[in-house]
Amino acid sequence: MLAQATVNGILLGGLYGLATVGFSMVWGVMGVINLAHTSFIMLGAYVTYFLFEKLGMDPILSMPFAMAAMFVLGYGIQRFILNGVIRTSLLLSLVVTFGIDLILTDATSLAFTSDVRSVNASYASTSIALFGTLVPLVRLLAAGLSLVLGIAFFVFLRRAGLGQAILATALDREMSNLMGINPQKVFALTAGAGAALAGAAGSLSSMLFPVSPAMGVSFLGAVFVITVLGGIGSVEGCIVAGFLYGLVQAWAAYFLGTNFQEIVAFALFLGVLVIRPQGLFGRAFFGEHA
Amino acid sequence: MALLEARDLTIRFGGVLALDAISFDVEAGQIFGVIGPNGAGKTTLLNAISSVCKLDAGHLRFDGRGVTNVASHHLSRLGVARTFQIVQPFNHMSVRENVAVGAMYGHARLRQRGEYLDAADEALQRTGLIAKADFMPPHLTLSDRKRLEVARALAMKPRLLLLDEVMAGLNLTEIERTIELVREISATGITVIVIEHVMKAVLALCDRAMVLNFGRKLTEGKPHDVVNEPAVVEAYLGTRFAKARTGNAA
């Protein structure tokens, strides 16, 4: 039983990690705490749901579409709204993104009703035996793809020119500007990439969780804790912290009961903030200097 | 007994030894200079003395009291005041209010509205800022903002004033005026430690000077003697100049 809980926890943690990468990068690169991030996850799930319902498309195949749609949304919001607000005050971004989250969630609710939907792929009930436990195939796929995307993004940041521009801007905005990197463009691209990854997480989540306008909220706690635990702006931090978070949650539920899951998460969160604010892999990114 | 006694002050930042067992005494009423090339550790020393940076080793005594690693605000209340190299005015308060904070919370500890405003105006008079008492700091020139730093410190009625590169960025006239100001401050009995790059000021003002290089104390003595020592010239300008100037290597 413990083994079952452990495996489940780790797999779920992988998905949470993917859900968090975008949020963490956006915070690290431009110091924006995007409270609308969880609605990107939600909308990604909806894209997958509709492609599944109307075209019978497999959820995993629909992931690129969800990512593309969310990229455009994230890019647009950053370029046309947030870039202007950041110039005034960084903390204002908390309020603006709160407003954007209200808009997106309510709009979805109005357009598609708050009915709960679900995506049942053909292989939804298949399970695989792993380490003496029974693991649903969809969970394994979700965790696996999350890991792959996370690593791909990590490599992109380190190798691709654009990725390095993003990292450079996070470390020193002024110097990057002087070296010909346009910070506004970098911000918009980072926001787009972050939203895309959130959309991917949403796509994968649709196979595991019910899809509704309120589903973003259930990710909020995880996203905050994993960001801070892993270190703001650190992709590798998110991946590792994601697994750790999933594991801790699973064990808390197993040993102390599901009621304590949230409290353990918050205790972890506050503990990290007070003892080691930079998290596991964090360095002083832009948000620190602000 | 010296007003300030420093023994073996040591501060490490990761692998870098920013201060390496620095010891010196500052007598009451002196103007004491701290000079050295960039990166020598001068500001770190000031941060150590004002308790902004914690010492990894060493002792500090102020007026006979042990003050190693006490909280900054305690030191201020004992009578130590400092200025910042990169000025840190309170931008949303007027010049007068900025200085009044010093009168309220420094060594002076004046809590009555009339008292602290009067003390503020007095400090503003001494630094020549009284005409701009109702201005907001962002509207001041750099030279005025530097004088605001000094006024704030003066309003605290300190016994020891630490000036961190207060001449940096000023033109010749402004430097002359600031030298005059420091002389006047010293004349009222306040002990002053001056960190400076502007040699003219150091030579004009200081009774004694100490030279730092790479976190270590090179030498100490009368300013004119110290700046001509081969080791000091070499530290600033390199071996060739040292040889050329003094006729021998350090």
Partner: protein, 329 residues
């Protein structure tokens, strides 16, 4: 800008002031007699406005004056509500309940303040959000007299509804006036100077002799006391509280937006911000029941883009650009 121009501009501000205070006096008189002539619906709206004035003034102390952005300050609203609720459920009278609300909230801030106020900027902001969210779980865990997840019913008053709601209105009005007065007083006292110094440059404040930790924690305690008072009265008013509504993060966020609209760090800013936002969102709710979250969201975004320093500042900027375009010096 020339010296003369600067002083001239400051002179203009000081002629504006007596006008402002006359307006305030008039407003107060109106608020005092209002319950006599308005419907129960509008009495409720005004009571809510005054409640938010209190919460926003509380936020003003820690955010506007001290510069520590407590995005989750609403946690004290819930703590106050539950403190009052628990006292009254134990049979104690309302007066004790409200006092308990103030005391417990302030105590929580004093205890939690030391570790949490060591964090700066964003870290502090989200730590308070975490606190706000965690409180929900903590109440559910404690259960017992707090009612846990089931919620807590407060004993009903023996008064008739009409006079009861009028009394609660006057209580909120008194609270709003007192909190605003406290903020005004704070700005004049040395503590207020210390807090503003901390906001502008905590490093400089420390070397000038300010015990920054003590000052910050004390400010948060004042903030918590105000917010807790509002929560305590609210609990008695609606007679039934549960964790998700008492600790609704939206309360803190709304107050934050009201503070932004009204202008941070000013005495009357929260009054203006709370009135404007609450009345507008009531009208929006009335008119657009279905899409009111959406419209609220749009309003928030628009305000942040157009008037990030408060509507007074935005108005002043507008006036200045109008004047410069029309030739005035």
């Amino acid at each position: 800008m020339s010296d003369a121009a600067i002083l001239q501009r400051q002179a203009k501000v000081s002629t504006f002031r007596p006008l402002l205070w006359t307006g305030v006096a008039v407003g107060l008189v109106v608020l005092c007699v209002a319950p006599l002539g308005i419907s129960a619906y509008w009495l409720r709206v005004l009571t809510t406005v005054l409640m938010y004035v209190i919460i926003t003034q509380g936020l003003n102390v820690i955010v506007g004056i001290t510069g520590y952005h407590a995005f989750g300050n609403g946690v004290f609203f819930g703590i106050g509500a539950y403190a009052c609720g628990a006292c009254m459920a134990a049979g104690l009278p309302f007066v004790v309940g409200v006092t308990g609300a103030i005391a417990v909230s302030a105590a929580c801030a004093l205890i939690l303040g030391r570790p949490i106020l060591r964090l700066r900027g964003h870290y502090f902001a989200i730590a308070t959000v975490a606190l706000n969210l965690a409180a929900v779980q903590i109440i559910i865990q404690i259960g017992g007299i707090t009612g846990g997840a089931q919620g807590l019913a407060l004993p009903l008053s023996t008064w008739e509804p009409k006079p009861l709601y009028v009394a609660i209105y006057y209580l909120m009005l008194a609270g709003a006036v007192v909190c605003t007065a406290i903020v005004a007083l704070l700005l004049k006292l040395p503590l207020g100077f210390a807090l503003r110094a901390i906001r502008d440059s905590e490093r400089a404040a420390a070397v000038m002799g300010i015990d920054t930790t003590k000052a910050k924690v004390f400010a948060w305690a004042i903030s918590a006391a105000m917010t807790g008072f509002a929560g305590g009265v609210w609990a008695y008013w609606i007679t039934f509280i549960e964790p998700s509504s008492a600790f609704d993060p939206g309360v803190g966020v709304k107050a934050y937006i009201m503070l932004i609209i009204g202008g941070m760090g000013s005495v009357l800013g929260p009054v203006i911000g709370a009135s404007a936002m609450e009345i507008v969102s009531t009208l929006v709710w009335g008119g657009f029941l279905k899409a009111h979250q959406l419209i609220l969201g749009v309003l928030i975004v628009v305000i942040c883009i157009v008037a990030p320093n408060g509507i007074i500042d935005a108005g002043a900027r507008l006036a200045r650009s109008w004047r410069s375009r029309h030739g005035a010096s």
